[in-house]
Symmetry: C2
Subunit: 231 residues, 2 copies
């Protein structure tokens, strides 16, 4: 399952948050297609490596979503690299990427790199503030970013990020209609299996994060419902 | 010759500059692979359309290099869309593109769109100033941008733009070694057939601009020497 086109569900774990061994086992043995390690603040080489080494005891693919080039280590199955299409600061589109490719380019295996065209929709979240995301987007703005991700940048992933808030399933559905080769990830605010199912009807991949730390039972339930839901 | 991978030579004509009918005929009948219409300032819908309609009387492919979405018209064989990888302003990487896709996305034929990952190397040129290009790049910076163009953004073209100054053939050669699928365009300061031949040994496509307006005879000579030069 190292091909994101085959995914339906992923957990995103924050290296800056604590998770018990028991809960981590539930996450990794849940049947999810991948565990993504990534967060917005407090991400260090130490805490990502520590979490990675714990996830590595299970068979589930372990991916790093790179938010800081300094946290990169050659230990993951895939490296997800966000480019924030609605950022007003080039750092989040080309800048950090350039720094990383200049430093590590020679050692990079490009087959393990998955570019994600991010569109951050919740103006109040940390990711939006850090990435200086343009807010107040209307539906056509979002659809245009999706088309750019697919046709201009040929990104394998377009990531609708509502980070912390549950998004608008109707908009997610609309975005899905303009994507063909590019896989649609939805992330943000999923706190129940019902919400996961709703987004699974619109997006290719449903990413479940915070609820892992709030209600592990409900979090694990999202895997089955997403896998049982037709797109 | 609508496939840039088959090109070796192109002329770039500035819609804001005058060219006589006789000289335009020499350009269009020179055997070049394409005429690209594009410039940095004074580009309007009117002057691009006027130049396009004159080029259209010849069989040579006629391409628009889009610098202002307002100058787009459905009349060209190809639309070359620069994304300035070393720009410090998102307008030149995602901003103008988003505006254009939002406005024209429904009518766009993506098969006619060719994305160009630009790297502007002459800090004194108008393009660098307008696009707020980061200057003072070392060779490794440029190589990293080239790798990003190919692997992260899957751009069909990486464009080394020295605009107005003749570039460093050794750097162009180095860049060529890191590119595989992405076609390397060289542009800037070619004033003689010998210079065109030198760059043709390093780059896939040599773009000849200003000398058309200064010495049409020498300009036309660049076509033959580029075509005869092995890469």
């Amino acid at each position: 399952m190292y091909d994101v086109r085959e995914w339906r569900h992923a957990f995103k774990l924050d290296p800056n948050k604590d998770i018990s061994e028991k809960d981590l086992e539930k996450v990794c043995e849940s049947g999810t297609d991948a565990v993504i390690i990534g967060g917005t603040d407090g991400v260090t080489l130490d805490n990502t490596l520590q979490l990675m080494s714990r996830v590595r005891r299970y068979a589930v693919p372990c991916c790093l979503e790179v938010s800081d080039p300094d946290a990169i280590a050659p230990a993951y199955d895939l490296y997800l690299i966000p480019a924030v299409l609605n950022s007003k600061n080039t750092t989040w589109i080309t800048g950090a990427h350039h720094k990383a490719v200049k430093a590590y380019g020679e050692w990079m295996n490009w087959n393990e790199i998955v570019m994600e065209g991010y569109c951050i929709l919740n103006p109040d979240c940390k990711a939006a503030q850090l990435a200086e995301a343009a807010t107040g987007l209307d539906d056509d703005d979002v659809l245009a970013y999706a088309s750019m991700a697919e046709h201009m940048f040929k990104f394998p992933v377009f990531y609708l990020e509502y980070s912390g808030t549950y998004g608008d399933p109707k908009l997610v559905e609309k975005v899905k209609t303009v994507l063909e080769d590019t896989v649609l990830f939805y992330g943000g605010g999923i706190r129940t299996a019902a919400q996961a199912a709703e987004m699974a009807r619109a997006a290719d991949v449903v990413v479940v994060g915070n609820v892992v730390y709030e209600n592990i039972h409900e979090a694990v339930k999202t895997v089955r419902v997403v896998k049982q839901t037709g797109l």
